[in-house]
Every structure is written in structure tokens, then in C-alpha cells.
Symmetry: D2
Subunit: 147 residues, 4 copies
């Protein structure tokens, strides 16, 4: 299905283990919903702790989920014994993020030995309808894992 | 001290009230340390919930704090009965954010009736020394407050 | 074909007239190859003036074409008697831009009364094969035309 | 004066030689006005070929000059026998670029063995007064020079 072939056949377990170690993702109640070669989906449910002053999903949550969705999409294509670090990202907010769930879908645009570029989109689901609320463009670097 | 003159003399109270209503900022334990005309400082202490998988401050926290620091810097120059929304931002991560505290300093580069542009810098403090760990460039829009 | 309905039925002529007035686009030999509701394609041929120090298409040319392709995609959906201005863009360079032609395709992600967000992709064509060499994410503002 | 120490004592000559080889910079009449360790200034004079449809300096020219000013600022700190490539940049346009001259000042925020982050500012000079018209945040990669 994917246009990419993972270098590490165990990539899904590696991504899940990394995700589980992130205190902030757990604290925010974000779930790793899907991981495949070069793509990743994260989901957050409605929770007062995740909102901004008008009751919408907070931009910081949207940024965090887009960053992580793009990051794990990139990580899925990296070799074993590597780590991924975000070097930069840019996000545009398109609409108020109102709804029951927030969904972030990341995908790799261009994998690289050193740098990988991804995009990610955030959708809010309201009454069963998904609406695009933010887009991101991101760079990540592959580094050797610390033993 | 500041090169900017606030349109709303009550700006500091308006910013503090807006900040206090943000569930996510409270959940993350982020404090509004300083607000002035066109600038804002936010601080986070060390907390396992704010870390990523290597024990450093999470990039999502850094992004959130930079976004909010720039956003409130912009908001401080907006007229009464207005709201501020981030339309986009870009962040570059420069170094691992290791330390006891994370400090985000936002300042206005160009205020505008519709759009305001800001920059923000994140510093981690370790053993009393501040180190620059991320920089941001951001756009915000001023909209009429909902009654 | 397009998901967008133009507000100005004369949008194609308006875009062509605006493009023709841009001294820099003419100086660089860039052509407006296609304009439709919410999308635009620009093309540049090989020309020593457009190259950087290694003989590839210059990043500045790529940035300029992406910016203009996104800008005219946005402009195509704006009302009559309006002007478009880029407020910001971000571009990631993915590969050396080697080839006979450079093609920039812009499309609207989210049109808006004030702000429009677009993406654009640059492809270099070499021996008849197109290769993605850069991606852009951009914001534009609609302003009333000066009489 | 500079906080940075160049790795290559011949950096100024290396930058000047690279700049001279860029067909596009020459075609646009852009001059390398200053190069120091971690900073660079480029200047363009008024020229109908550099304008957009309203007679202001074209955004593409501003983007190109900011990109190059940041790029050569980064290159000044790189070792001999290396090349610099822009991996990405983001530019915010702050004001119409009206005037006799356009000046781009780039400086290094964080040098790195692989990645360097810079900022750059563009000023237009009108009647002897400089006005900030754009800001940029950029990443560059250091690669071994092709023999």
C-alpha cells in the first residue's frame, strides 16, 4: 500500500515503544492509532485539559500532535538503532478545532539518510464529520541511538 | 522601556485573565512570569509529565510555550474587546532542552491592525546557566471578541 | 474539476494581467502555464541566469516560483477589485534541481475572506521525468485594490 | 567583534568566490556588501527588473536575498572544502518594500557541524531611512565539497 519500504522490519514496535516513553503524550491522553511505513496517525479525545480559552482544542495540542505524527512517520523509515529528532516545523492553523476528537495524520514527503521531510494534517471530528483544521511542514534528523 | 505603546491600558489584566482560562497551560504547569507592551515571558518547571523519551523537555512543550509567549506578546498591543489567534508559526530546535526550567520569551517584531508578527526564544536553565534551545517566528490575527 | 468556485468569473484574465506586470517574472523568463480555480502552474526553462554555483536551478528561483504559483492560486479565488499579498511562506528543499525545466504547481488548501493558505510543489524535469525538488506552505492576504 | 571564530581563515575569499559564480545573483544585480564570521550583508539597487506589479521590490527578490544572506553567514563558519545548502527557510513579509535600495542582513543563530540555523532581516532604504520589511528563519546543511 505504501510507497516506502522500511529499513527496520521491527519499526512498528520501535515506534510504539518510543511513544510509550513520552510522558507528555501520556499526560495529554494522546493515542497512537496507526503506524505504517512513512505514515502515522495520532488521536486525542475531548478533555478539558486539552482546550484553550474558547473551549476548542488548544493550538499547542494541535502542534504537538502534528509534530509527533510527522516525527513517527519519519521514524518508521529509519534504520534500527537510530533516533529521530525534529529540527524544525511550521504549522498553519486553518479553522477553530471544535469537536469530539482531534486526529493528526503524518506522512513522509522525502526520506533521507540524514534529513527527512514530512507533512501532517490535523482534523477535528464533529458529529461524525472530519474537518481539516491545521497543516504542518517539518524536518527531522536521524541520529545514532545512545546505547 | 518598551518601544511599543499599548492601545488598551488594561492589557496586563486582559492577558492574565486569558491565560488563566487556558486548561492546557494550567495542566502543564506553565506560569505567566512577565507581561509588558509587546513582550511576554512564560516559565515551566521540571515535571516528569513535560518530558520526552530521553528526559529532556518535550518539543511539544517548547512549541506550546513559544506559541503562547509570542501570542500574548502580540495580544498586549491589541485593542480592548479583541481576541488573538495564531495563524501560523515556525520553530527551529537548536539544542536538547535539558535543565530545571524552561523559559520562553516572546516579543513583537511588527504589530498590525490585522496581522502581528512576533519572534520567541526558548531557553533551558541548567545549574543557573541559560542556554538557547529553540527559536520561533509567528503570525497572529486580531479578531473582535465574541460578546 | 476543481473543488472551488471562483468569486470573479474573470479571474483568469485578472491573473494573467497581474503576472504580465511583474518585471521580475519577465526578467527570469518564467511563464504562466496554467491557471484554474484555486490552482496555478508556472514553468521556467533552462537559462544560465537562473542557476546557482553548481549549475542547478537556483533556490531563489524555486522560492520565487513557488511563492508566485501559490499566490496566483489564491488570487484566482479572490473577488474582483482585490489584490493578493504574500504574508509569509516556508519552503523545504528536497533535492538538487537539475534538469531542463522547472515546474511550480500551487494550490489552495483553505480559502478565506482575509487569509488564504496554499501549498506548492516544485518539480524539475530531466530527460522527460519529473522529480519533486521542493515543497512550500504559504499564507496570503486579500486587500482592496488601490484605485 | 563577532562571537564566532571561523574554522576556515580564508572564509571571506571562499564566500566571495561562491557568490561570484551564482548566475542569478549577478543577473539580479545583487552585491555582496559585507562578510564576517557568522554574518553577511547583501544589497540591491533600484532596477525595474526587480519590481512587482505595484513598483515595490518583488517578494521573490527579498526571499532570494534573505536566503543568500543567511546562507553566506552560515558558510562563513564552515570548514574548508565544504559546501552549504539551504534545507529550508521561512520568511514573513512585514511592509511594502518601497525605496531606492534593499538590504539583507543574515546572521548565524546556532552553528553546527551538520545543521546551522540563521535569521536574516530585509530593510528597504527610502530617503535615507531604513525600514524593516521582512524577516527570515532558515536551516542550512554543511556537505563535503565535490572535488
Amino acid at each position: 500500500m505504501s510507497e516506502f519500504t522500511p529499513l527496520n522490519p521491527e519499526y512498528a514496535g520501535v515506534v510504539a515503544a518510543s511513544f510509550a516513553k513520552q510522558g507528555l503524550m501520556q499526560a495529554l491522553g494522546i493515542e497512537l492509532a496507526e503506524i505504517g511505513p512513512g505514515h502515522c496517525v495520532l488521536v486525542a479525545g475531548h478533555n478539558p485539559d486539552l482546550l484553550q480559552q474558547h473551549g476548542y482544542f488548544h493550538g499547542a495540542l494541535i502542534g504537538a500532535m502534528l509534530d509527533s505524527a510527522g516525527g513517527y512517520a519519519a521514524y518508521s523509515l529509519m534504520p534500527a538503532d537510530s533516533e529521530v529528532l525534529t529540527t524544525e516545523y511550521k504549522v498553519n492553523f486553518l479553522a477553530a478545532a471544535e469537536g469530539e476528537r482531534l486526529i493528526a495524520r503524518g506522512k513522509v514527503v522525502k526520506p533521507g539518510r540524514t534529513l527527512t521531510v514530512t507533512t501532517a494534517e490535523a482534523f477535528c471530528m464533529q458529529d461524525g464529520v472530519e474537518r481539516l483544521c491545521a497543516v504542518m511542514l517539518q524536518s527531522l534528523i536521524c541520529v545514532a541511538a545512545e546505547p
